[in-house]
Amino acid sequence: MKIAVCVKQVPEGNSRIDPETKRLDRSGEGALNAFDANAVEEALRLKDATGEGEVVLVSMGPPKAQDALRKALAMGADRAVLVTDEAAAGSDLVATSYTLAKALEREGADVILFGQQAGDSDGAVLWAAVADRLRLPVVSQAAEITQADGKLTVKRQTEFGYDVIEAPLPAVVAVSDAINEPRYPSLKGIMGAKSKAQATLSLSDLGVEGDRAGEQGSRTEVYGLNDPPARSESKKIEDNGNAAQAILDFLAEKRLV
């Protein structure tokens, strides 16, 4: 079974928006989007369950996203494809889903997995757009996936309880962060990752026309940044053994105990 996993590199630590470009500042250190580790883990699990196949990472981002991809390769993914192109910077949902779908089309995977959300955008929407472009069934928020007889059975949570949804392959599935416990890369995995294939594709390699990517290809725009509504004062303390007492005093002051 061939499984493609869409993974993203996100800025490490606290992110900021560049007031000039009004884009997320991606100049600092990057990391593998933590939610995507669950998708990689699930891909490895599905591959192991069938006993054969391949796990391919598909990502779109700046060249240094290779580092984040290497982490997922160290977990056990077989190879990676990074779409990287100056002209793709600033892509919104419409543009990103178009480019990613083009990259995924080339792979022709049986299952395409997504993480629950990108930690920098908190979108939790991309998979549905990509699935529509690929004309494939989609199931989101998967808390459990089983596969048999050319179809996936997915258990997932909604506002009203649990759904069980069946989808024939090929299918797109976005996993919840509770679906599994992502493995830590072993030393062997980390060493092995260095020799795994990490291909780079430009937009023209994918046949993505310039006006379908980046800001040109985007249908949304950012006008400006504002401060959030003012909040009442908040305190933050480190526990040096007396935090419990500090909480109690605070609650007493607020007449909550």
Partner: protein, 321 residues
Amino acid sequence: MSTLVFLEHHGHELLKGSLGVLSKAAAFADADVAGVVIGSKVRALADQAGKFGAPKLYVADDARLEAPLPQPRVDVLAQLVRDKGIDTVLFGNSVLAADVAAGLAARLDAGLNWDLADLVQQDGKLVGKRPALQDSVYVDVGWKSEPRIALFRSGSFDPVAAGGSAQVEDVAVALEDFSTSARMVDQAHEESEGPSIEDAPVIVAGGRGLGGPENFTLVEELAKALGGAVGATRAVVDAGWYPYSTQVGQTGKTVSPKLYIACGISGAIQHKVGMQSSGVIVAINKDTNAPIFEFSDLGVVGDVHEVVPRLTELVRARKAS
């Protein structure tokens, strides 16, 4: 502005989130608003739609639309937007609505702005207010083309029952093959047992930072000492550590106790929307960068296994004295 509001329903009722968005849309000065309900045997929802601000209601009624799956709904909406010349499509966030909105954006190559807390008209333009980066910044966002698609954060608007009635127009349903290939095989609607956490004056909530289901006794003990109830995050509910009925957040309950104590919870947006209106928020998390600290009145950087049992003891001692 010709606006379409996606009206989601469950158990013969339109959802409060959808009705809030409908009321918001109806309040725009030049509003030309219609609602749309998509499902099976849903025509009866017209009364409710009219009452909350839809003078017009499109109804797509078909047995194939019974299960709340997103892709057939994209087919219906795409057709409606094209046929009726709709320029703005609004959604209240939900698991279903997010997937429908994003699918529709791709289908129509339309801009989608998500997680909006508000929508205003500014200099003749529609501007969305989008809290970003753990709500540390509010971004003004817009659309470069039509139709514009917006997905609103849960609880952004209260429904306003202005009275009125909706003129119903049935829409024909043509579905794509791939849209109907996923199938709902079971829906387990969990009834909550025990007292509802929605009425509890104090909630002590536990997240994945507790480390395992057995450690939920820590939050249970503290909740008991404070005379409160126990809440949980989706991560621990999905992992089977605690019952679904205690889940706080976008897909769980919205609570506003006098006191909310978050133990080992990161404070993701989807959790925040369910508890941000609590009176006082105290958070205990060992990661000093955890988003939960951005909206806590008192944040404690520490280990729940140390802090929580000690706090329980102190509360008990105080009550005993």
